[in-house]
C-alpha cells in the first residue's frame, strides 16, 4: 500500500502546506499577538513580537465589564443546546428505532425549516419580543437559539442513533431484558458519544450566532457576538483592546472546535458527507 514518496517531495509538500496553513491562520495569530501589545505598539507597524503585557485584557474588563457578555454567551449557548437536546433526543430516538413511512418526510421537512432565511421572520419576532417583554432577556434568546438549532440537533442525533445496530437490541431482548433495561443498559451507553458530539457542535453554533443576538439584545442579555459588534465604531486608540476582547471571545470555541472537526462535517452537511 505504502507509496514510495521521495524525501524531497515530502519536504516540498510540507513547506507548501505549512505556508498555506499559516497564511490562513495569520489573522487569528496576529490578533492574539496584538492583544499582548500596548496600544502604541499595536499601531506602530507590523511587528510579531509583542511586549507581552496583559494591560489590554484588564482595560477591557474594567471599562466594558467583559464578564457579563461572556457569561451570557455561556448561558445562551449551553442553555439553548440542552433545551434542544431535551426535545430532540426522544424525537430522534423514535425516528431511528421505530421509523414509519413518514419519518423521511418529517426529517426533510425539519431540514427545510432551517432554510427559512432569518431575516424573513425578523419583523414578527422583533415585534413579539417587544410586546411580550422578552427583548434583551436571556430566556427569550435561549428559546430562540434553541428553535434555530433544533433541526440540526434532531438530524445529527438521528444519524448517530441510526448507526446503533438493531441486532444488539434483539440480543438483549432474547436475554430477557425489559424495555427499561434495554434503554438504560444497552442503548444509552451506545448513544452517549453521539449526544456528546451533537452537544459540542451546537454550543459552537449557538456561541457564534450573530444575527438574532444583535437584533434582540442591548446590554442585559447581550452575548459576546453582540458585545464585539458594538466595537465597530472605535473611540480613540483601541487596536490592542479590540484584540484582547476578540481573543477572549474566540479562544474557548476555537479549542472546542478543534475537538469537533469530524462532527462538524457530519452536522453541517446533515449526514450527506461523512
Amino acid at each position: 500500500m505504502a507509496r514510495a514518496v521521495t524525501r524531497n517531495a515530502k519536504i516540498g509538500w510540507t513547506i507548501a502546506a505549512w505556508f498555506v496553513a499559516l497564511l490562513i491562520f495569520f489573522p487569528i495569530l496576529y490578533t492574539i499577538i496584538t492583544s499582548l501589545k500596548t496600544e502604541q505598539e499595536a499601531i506602530a507597524g507590523f511587528d510579531l513580537l509583542p511586549s507581552f503585557t496583559l494591560e489590554s485584557y484588564q482595560t477591557v474588563q474594567s471599562q466594558n465589564n467583559y464578564v457579563r457578555p461572556f457569561l451570557n454567551s455561556v448561558i445562551l449557548s449551553v442553555g439553548s443546546t440542552i433545551l434542544a437536546l431535551i426535545v430532540a433526543i426522544p424525537a430522534a430516538w423514535a425516528m431511528a428505532f421505530s421509523p414509519t413511512k413518514r419519518t423521511k418526510d418529517i426529517l426533510m421537512w425539519m431540514l427545510s425549516t432551517k432554510m427559512m432565511p432569518a431575516v424573513a421572520v425578523l419583523v414578527p419576532i422583533y415585534l413579539i419580543f417587544l410586546r411580550t417583554g422578552l427583548m434583551d432577556t436571556r430566556i427569550g434568546l435561549t428559546i430562540l437559539l434553541m428553535l434555530i438549532n433544533l433541526p440540526i440537533v434532531v438530524w445529527m442525533l438521528y444519524t448517530y442513533f441510526r448507526e446503533i445496530p438493531g441486532e444488539i437490541l434483539e440480543a438483549a431482548r432474547m436475554d430477557g431484558a425489559s424495555l427499561r433495561d434495554e434503554i438504560l443498559y444497552v442503548l444509552t451507553p451506545m448513544a452517549v458519544p453521539g449526544i456528546a458530539s451533537t452537544l459540542l457542535l451546537n454550543i459552537i453554533l449557538a456561541w457564534n450566532e450573530a444575527f438574532w443576538t444583535i437584533q434582540l439584545t442591548t446590554t442585559n442579555a447581550a452575548p459576546l457576538s453582540a458585545f464585539i459588534a458594538s466595537f465597530s465604531s472605535p473611540q480613540g486608540l483601541f487596536w490592542a483592546k479590540l484584540s484582547a476582547a476578540s481573543t477572549m471571545a474566540i479562544a474557548p470555541i476555537l479549542i472546542l472546535g478543534w475537538f469537533s472537526q469530524k462532527q462538524l462535517v457530519r452536522g453541517l452537511t446533515f449526514g450527506a458527507v461523512k
Binding site: M115, I128, I253, T269
Partner: protein, 289 residues
C-alpha cells in the same frame, strides 16, 4: 418488530419537536405575510392601514432593491468561487504526505470557529485598515500606496472576509471526501502513466463532485443571510454598494421602522431561498436511503 404500544410511544416522543418546529415555522411566516400587506410604520403605529400590493411594488421599484439583489448574488457567487476552488487545492495539499498534518489541519479550519463580528473586525482593523493594517504595511514595504479597502472596494472586501470564514468549511468537507478516494485506483492510473492533470480531472474531480455540490448548496443558504460582517465593516455603504438583501430588510425594519416594507422584503427573501432549497433537498434526500 414494533408493537402498537411502542408505536404510540414513538409518536409521543416525536410530537414535541414536530409541534415546536411547526409553530416556529408557520406562525412568524404567516405574520410576515400579513404585515407585508399593511401600511405599518412603528413611528406612526396609529396610521396602520391595508396596503394591498403597495409594499411589494415599492420594494420592486426601489433602485436599492436591485442593487441589493445584485450584491447578494455577487457576494454568494464570489465566496463560492473562492472557497470551492481554494478549498479543493488546499484539501489536496493537506492530503499529501506531509509532516505535521494534524496541526496543519487545525490551523486551516480555525477561521470557521471565529464568530462573524470578530472575523469582520479583525480584518477591518488589523488587516485591511488603510494606515495601520498589515496589508498597508506590506504595500508600503513594496513602495506602493496602501489601499483603502472598504471605501474603494467595499463588496470585494466583504467577499474576502466571508471567503476566509468559509474556506475552512469547504476544505474540511472536500478533504473528508478526498480521503475516501480509492487509492488503488489512483495507483493503477499512475502506473499506467496517466499524467497528474488527467488523474485530477478523471478520477479526483468526479469523486469529489458530490461533496462539492453539498458545499455549494449549504454555503449558499448561509451566504444569503450574511449580516454581521456587513454591519461592523461598511454598514452597507458607501450608498448601497455593499448592501445585500438581508441588510436591506434589516435597514427597512430597524432603521426606517417600516414594518410593512420589511415584511414584503422578507417574503421575497423566502422565495429566493426556497428556489435554492429545492436543489439542496434533492441532493441531501438522495443520500438518506
Amino acid at each position: 418488530m414494533a408493537t402498537r404500544q411502542t408505536q404510540g410511544l414513538a409518536r409521543l416522543m416525536r410530537a414535541p419537536a414536530i409541534i415546536l418546529l411547526f409553530v416556529w415555522m408557520i406562525v412568524p411566516l404567516c405574520m410576515t405575510l400579513y404585515y407585508s400587506f399593511l401600511n405599518y410604520n412603528l413611528l406612526n403605529p396609529g396610521m396602520t392601514s391595508w396596503a394591498g400590493w403597495f409594499n411589494y411594488q415599492y420594494f420592486y421599484t426601489d433602485p436599492a432593491f436591485f442593487e441589493s439583489i445584485k450584491n447578494t448574488l455577487v457576494l454568494v457567487l464570489g465566496v463560492l468561487f473562492i472557497t470551492v476552488v481554494g478549498g479543493t487545492f488546499i484539501a489536496m495539499l493537506i492530503d499529501k504526505p506531509i509532516w505535521g498534518q494534524g496541526i496543519v489541519r487545525i490551523l486551516v479550519i480555525s477561521p470557521f470557529f471565529v464568530m462573524p463580528p470578530v472575523a469582520a473586525l479583525i480584518w477591518k482593523n488589523m488587516i485591511m485598515h488603510p494606515s495601520y493594517g498589515v496589508l498597508a504595511d506590506v504595500a508600503r514595504f513594496f513602495g506602493a500606496s496602501p489601499v483603502d479597502w472598504f471605501a474603494q472596494y467595499p463588496l470585494t472586501s466583504i467577499i474576502l472576509i466571508v471567503a476566509w470564514q468559509w474556506l475552512p468549511f469547504a476544505t474540511l468537507i472536500l478533504l473528508t471526501s478526498l480521503q475516501s478516494l480509492d487509492t488503488e485506483q489512483m495507483e493503477a492510473a499512475e502506473m499506467d502513466g496517466a499524467p497528474a492533470v488527467s488523474r485530477f480531472l478523471y478520477l479526483t474531480l468526479p469523486h469529489m463532485a458530490r461533496a462539492i455540490t453539498v458545499v455549494i448548496l449549504i454555503q449558499t443558504i448561509f451566504l444569503l443571510g450574511i449580516y454581521a460582517e456587513i454591519l461592523v465593516t461598511t454598514n452597507g455603504g458607501p450608498g448601497f454598494a455593499s448592501t445585500n438583501l438581508t441588510f436591506l430588510i434589516y435597514r427597512a425594519a430597524r432603521l426606517n421602522f417600516d414594518i410593512g416594507g420589511a415584511a414584503a422584503g422578507g417574503i421575497i427573501a423566502v422565495v429566493l431561498a426556497n428556489v435554492i432549497a429545492i436543489f439542496l433537498m434533492r441532493a441531501v434526500g438522495r443520500n438518506l436511503d
